[in-house]
Amino acid sequence: MAKIAVDPVTRIEGHLRIEAQVDAGQITEAWSSCTMWRGIETILEGRDPRDAWYYTQRICGVCTTVHALASVRAVENALDITPPLNAQLIRNLITLSQFVQDHVVHFYHLHALDWVDIVSALDADPAATAALASSISSYPKSSPSHFAAVRSRLQGFVEAGQLGPFSNGYWGHEAYKLPPEANLMAVSHYLDALEFQRDYIRIHAMLGGKNPHLQTYLVGGMAIPIDLNSQDAINADMLSQIRVLLRKGLEFVQQAYIPDVLAVAPFYLEWAGIGGGLGNFMAFGDFPLGGANPAVAPDDLYLPRGVIYDKDLSTVHPLDPLKISEYVTHSWYDYESGDASPLAPFDGETTPNFAGPQPPYEFLDTEGKYSWLKSPRYDGRAVEVGPLARMLVAYASGHERVVEVVDSVLGTLGVGAEVLFSTLGRTAARAIETLVLAEHSLEVLDQLTANIGSGDWDVHNGSKWEPSSWPATAQGFGMHEAPRGGLSHWITIKDQKIDHYQIVVPSTWNGGPRDGNGIGGAYEAALVGTPIADEERPLEILRTIHSFDPCMACAAHVIDKDGNPVVEVTVT
């Protein structure tokens, strides 16, 4: 019986930390801890609600747009403001392109390295790699000479001792199963994905007004004008540039991302039976088809809203946002009313009470408080959020395109829908979602172009811009499907200022600690049963945790001059 801790150490503050009990080569119990205090909410109180999005956008370096959007939606819900259709569509385009870029980056630059052995790619035969690549996709860069060039580039990096982003992986681990040729193909696509995402995200520079942080969000709409006669506005030229980029995005997903997932999956089919976790899934749904705020128009969304319990795809339960509440029983916070019962976000409190050990320490006291994350629950139950939850809710709701793509992927792999409840299922769901949303982005652009063409250039509803037009008190919430899952912002406005603000982030749903009933979150549940071949190198933990695409290390990037290990693996 051994206990393992995986902890990215930065010495100034920690991030996501996993502790796992291993017995006979299998995880029997796991604890997920966020070791970094955030409490951003406290910064917002007393500020102008119209500025909240600007501050919340800074919470995270990857998901900049998601907090901005959830925040403006919360304020619009509180003040009963409906933005014009153009603004909703522009927001959808920003979000959809964020999804495609973020999922591609996650797969190729983080998660693929759990399955692809970079060093083994050096043994690949370029001609055999070309044959493999051509057999799975019409992706253009698939010639023997191309793969030979990639291999020699990689060779150069290895010989110079400069593996760069590939340094210090668990290369050579027995859990890597791909043949060298599949590894080389993946390395080649890794490099292409870097170039792709760099070009693709220019969409944000165009619609966001400024790079790298978007500046065009606005309560009531967007702060980017539409004017077909102006160079400094959304015009025909910009729309066609965006179309070219969106098409490139769709092509990359069709020709590289999906085929790569289908090529890698057969070597790891045992992971279709590992990492299933809670079996409860929640999706807020998103991508308004019309102008209404998703908070009040749950049926007018491209991806549907709903909850699934106990892996039962025959019933999608309706979702009531007011049934969300958060426990702090095992979190480093105190509730005034005591820590045994949860609080709804409108009544939420952010009062820190750090009771954890001072670093360096071996293990956390998981009997007591052990995380800076709260434990959100829906109607009292732990639920998983993210791509798998969204695709399952859409699939079970009969979303036509999602059903088509899911069935086609399952058919290609020769497996049934039950395999979706797994680490591999989560990874496949993210790829499926990327395809469906890359397609939808072009539909949204068509809708925007048609609406502009009809003469509607309106991007902002300023009817309630002036605080004097607001009621003395107002309350609202903004729901948004971020790439990592359902995100919600909850605001109370009093005397024209923010009186109370709470943010419930996706990785809190998935990565939170035990609740008041001793029930763990999605990470904790998913790790149970995971095999561990080598306790010193727990690659398998990373596979399942990465399949959720954790959002933990955000917000703090202090450079460590001394190059200390960022992951500390402790085994006792």
Binding site: V6, G61, V62, H109, P165, L194, P212, A553, A556
Partner: protein
């Protein structure tokens, strides 16, 4: 530069919601006040790979950030050369840990990394939640800014673009 961008970039990094975590961003704005030709000021926040297009193809990249070093005290100014700056981390738990070192590593894999690389940092006094720098860090900021300006001036002389 063929695309009309400045050959040198100053990239301020950090999170302004955690007091001195944001000192790199603040320092970058102050370097910007010197209005140097051929230098672009960038607010990188805590972005990772999204910074790739901003970094690629520059002659020189100067990173400003909060830093920690063995045996250092708050307020110390730390200057890093290219080797220290691109030292990669070990395993990443999250895409959110993709920081400047990994992004420079990616640029290097693509063959588009800036030729001149340096970083100037200050050891933070406070990482408490709050908007704006601690008074002590604000007081030390000019030292960091002049260190940054000296590096830029040296690069410009070496590259003779200030003619």
């Amino acid at each position: 530069m063929s695309d009309g961008r400045a050959p040198f970039a100053v990239l301020g990094l950090g999170n302004e919601l955690f007091t001195d975590e944001g000192l790199g961003v603040q320092a970058a704005f102050e370097v910007g006040d010197a209005l140097l030709d051929d230098v672009e000021i960038l607010d990188g926040g805590t972005l990772g790979l999204a910074l790739l297009p901003e970094i690629e193809g520059r002659t020189g990249l100067l990173v400003l950030d909060a830093m920690v070093a063995e045996g250092s005290s708050p307020g110390d100014i730390v200057v890093l050369g290219p080797e220290e700056l691109v030292r990669p981390r070990m395993l990443l738990m999250s895409a959110h840990q993709v920081g400047i070192a990994e992004t420079l590593g990616a640029a290097s894999l693509l063959g588009t990394s800036p030729r001149l690389l340096a970083a100037v940092g200050m050891v933070p006094y406070s990482l408490e939640t709050g908007y704006g720098l601690s008074p002590a860090a604000l007081e030390r900021l000019p030292g960091m800014v002049s260190e940054a300006l000296a590096i830029l001036e040296r690069w410009k002389v070496e590259e003779s673009v200030d003619a």
